[in-house]
Symmetry: C2
Subunit: 296 residues, 2 copies
Amino acid sequence: VLANKELPDGYRQVLIGDKNQILDLLKNEHADVNDFDIVHTSEVIDMGDQPTKAISQKPDSSISVGFRLLKEEKIDAFASAGNTGAMLVGSMFSVKTIPGIIRPAIASIVPLEEGGISLILDVGVNADCKPEMLQQFAILGSLLMEHVYHIPSPKVGLMNIGEEAEKGNALTQAAHPLLKSMREINFIGNIEGRDLFHSKADVIVCDGFTGNVILKEAEGIYSLLKRRGISDPYFERWNYENYGGTPVLGVKSTVIIAHGISNAKAIKSMILLTKNVLAAKLTEKISNAFHLTVAT
Amino acid sequence: VLANKELPDGYRQVLIGDKNQILDLLKNEHADVNDFDIVHTSEVIDMGDQPTKAISQKPDSSISVGFRLLKEEKIDAFASAGNTGAMLVGSMFSVKTIPGIIRPAIASIVPLEEGGISLILDVGVNADCKPEMLQQFAILGSLLMEHVYHIPSPKVGLMNIGEEAEKGNALTQAAHPLLKSMREINFIGNIEGRDLFHSKADVIVCDGFTGNVILKEAEGIYSLLKRRGISDPYFERWNYENYGGTPVLGVKSTVIIAHGISNAKAIKSMILLTKNVLAAKLTEKISNAFHLTVAT
């Protein structure tokens, strides 16, 4: 309902879930039921459900139905704060990966102290990566940053454990020269953990294990600050509610995954992010970039 | 000079470096020169020097001389806040690794919100690890925690990206069952980034790439807090000055590496840590543990 007040003409929300619960909620919020389409579902994929099984065993859950509607092009984008694993499985096996892309990735926003944001990816889909995957993350992150967050020619950094090109583990050592050789991105070299929050880079690439550890450490510290009653305008920008989640980058349609603990404000951010990703034609831009990459 | 006031009888500091500078400093601090031995050196390994070359090309630097004195058993322990790489090279090639140990490791203290500390290792020596190395880090960290920090039967956690045993990347997936099978440690399962600062584990094991990223992210956030004027008794415990660095775990003698930016308080902590590691006979305990491990 909050998002609906801010969505421009031409966008319409399709609410997928238990119809009675949806109607009750809309009534409680004094919303006009005609502003929404409602698709009733009778099953629920829980947070603890095994992702691959859940989608096939619960075909009338909101996640399964959402991916079916997306595949049938009855909706243009699908966003959910439900089971992340099931959302990823649906993205890869129902929507499918864009040809040329090894694996999709998800990104997280990093608020910078001096204002603005950077992006870090992958943050969890790909625990083990080949160097060529980091190259692709660099392209995916750059396109997201440029077209959705309006940063032209985004600077790309490689998360590493030293500033020098030769530093790192086998993955980053192999990825560094590959990233440096790419003309389609603006590679600026290595980024260290201590530079994360006043990064020289707009896009930081890493394997999904490292990205997930980085993200969860920051989440842990944010909780600590809250619990200790520390309030600060910069750290307030760490609040996930402001960002609305991440697109699944590299699949054939627009899928947005939000945090499982999302409240009303976070869901509103998720819906507006979905609109921004659609308006930016991000999927098309990614397809074109990889079509060119594969062709040349 | 600060450390000397707290060192018990039977410990004597040998200061290795430019004799005139040392004498000037002792005079400025109104210290008794007879409380110290001084070994003059004429060369300096800079922070930017290439570690392997530096030790052979600057044989009269404090780091080279320190390792020589240690090898000749003229000193019992060697501590420095100099070039970390050179300290590691000296540890591995001059002091040498304890038989049975694949690679030495270094640890970092993690102050816990509820009081007390945990340890995380490796934090930088081994960017790429085999699962068997994480097993060894579990033993090294447990012995350090038990004998130097006096936590009996320390609980060991595996840094991972999910709570479930099967989660993770290829390394942590392979390491989990190996750690679980070890009777010589108290393995409690996976630890996530968000649990770092109120960890259920006393010792957290990870590869050196992950550990280094975690450490530097925390350092970056600590600097942010300072820069933003946020003061909090818990976060004050993040100050590296309190901990004095890390032993090089798994080499044949006592070597302590401190942070390159160490001030007087940090150097004092380094010297007292050196004393604690010596008093705990940590090297002997590690040798015994690996002797047993290799034998059985």
